[in-house]
Amino acid sequence: MPPIYLTPSYILFHYLHTTTYLQPPTSPKMSANEAMAKRSLLAVIADEDSVTGLLLAGVGQVLNEPGKESNFLTVVPGKTTQEEVEQAFDRFTGERDDVAILLINQHIADLIRPRVDSYTNAFPAILEIPSKDHPYDPEKDSILKKVRRLFGE
């Protein structure tokens, strides 16, 4: 191999090569679109029957990647603590960047109601779903509460 002479032109060429070709420019708009495109999964925090049903629908994913082991948490009464639910909520809404919608049972959302109500991010979106023992209650729907507040009720 011929010797490389560290002339100014070589150093300038190497600098330009590494800075222009190895680090393509990225605009904030492109990165936001890319971030949105990555958000494609539905995460679930629900009881056994709800998780079973939603897994049957095909939303479940299990990976060997640390931090993204699974996109669902099965809440077992008496076994799953409130802290575990809060940790899962923070993981799906904050740490993970591939979740677009978080589905959570309404009665489980009541356990962490302050955290759910104080959540204001656009993505992932949060939707409270009914469970077998707790059907859909429009009185507890947050969007309907906002509408009632708007009309002065």
């Binding site: 029957d49 079973t52 629908a57 677009a100 919608i101 859909y136």
Partner: protein, 263 residues
């Protein structure tokens, strides 16, 4: 329409402020639009006075607010119909069928049966403008495998025909040249047929790794109620996505109306 003499009586600063609020300071021809596609052109000498401008502005604002409230009510109606209708019944039917499947089977379908080996989600969301679209990757994979199967079947049909023509030419050449050429041509024909046989198995192996039907994790023969539950929950997922879109629209309309109320 107020005349030019009326506009001359108004203080210039107040009129300029009104024009600035409406964005009409540098215009030579004034066009007053109500934001709903209706507009009227005003010549400079026919500019309305300050009071009329403010009234028109308030009128525009109240019309916009009414329009927003109307949109909110329509979206709210759509949201409540969906939430209290098919969204609710899909979950109820799904849970009911899941319970029946467990009753009709020797085991329950729950966390003990989950397949925790690595697999990809079959249903993902793709951003389509302002809305989400649910993409079924398993269905897409099946369609692609059908296409490849038909292509391979066509290729395998063509290959024997080519082998037949090659064999005929080989026979002719063997008659003219000798027996060694026949063996060579037959070897070539067998070698051409081998890739056609191996390709379908390779594609099948790839399919089995990529996306799997989640019902298979509960066994090969499952009660039909479990398949019904699967279709119920699949419909429920589609309704969930629709509800999320409606919630976003309603929240943005609420913000707009609250901003009108504050101003």
């Amino acid at each position: 329409m107020p005349t030019a003499s009326v506009t001359e009586e108004i203080e210039t600063s107040e009129l300029d402020q009104c024009l600035e609020r409406l964005g009409l300071t540098d215009a030579k021809e004034f066009v007053l639009s109500n934001g709903f596609g209706e507009s009227e052109k005003l010549a400079p000498e026919n500019l309305p006075d300050k009071l009329d401008l403010e009234e028109r502005l308030e009128g525009l604002t109240s019309e916009l607010q009414d329009e927003k409230v109307l949109q909110l009510l329509l979206k709210l109606n759509e949201y409540e119909d969906l939430a209290n209708g098919s969204f609710r019944t899909d979950f109820i039917d799904g849970f009911s069928n899941l319970s029946r499947a467990g009753f009709n089977s020797t085991r329950t379908f729950g966390p003990d049966s989950y397949d925790l080996r690595e697999y990809q989600a079959c249903k993902i969301l793709v951003k389509n403008g302002d809305s989400f679209e649910v993409v079924d990757r398993l269905k897409r994979q099946r369609e692609e495998s059908k296409k490849t199967a038909t292509i391979i079947a066509q290729a395998s049909k063509e290959a024997p025909e080519e082998n037949g023509t090659k064999k005929r030419t080989s026979k002719n050449s063997a008659k003219s040249a000798g027996a060694t050429q026949k063996t060579e041509k037959s070897a070539i024909s067998t070698s051409t047929s081998i890739p056609a046989k191996t390709e379908p198995t390779e594609t099948r192996e790839v399919e089995s790794v990529k996306y799997r039907d989640p019902i298979n994790q509960f066994g090969g023969l499952v009660p039909y109620q479990l398949r019904q539950a699967q279709s119920n929950f699949l419909a429920a997922v589609l309704h969930c996505v629709k509800l999320v879109e409606l919630r976003r629209t309603i929240e943005s309309l609420i913000e707009d109306i609250e901003s009108f109320q504050r101003s």
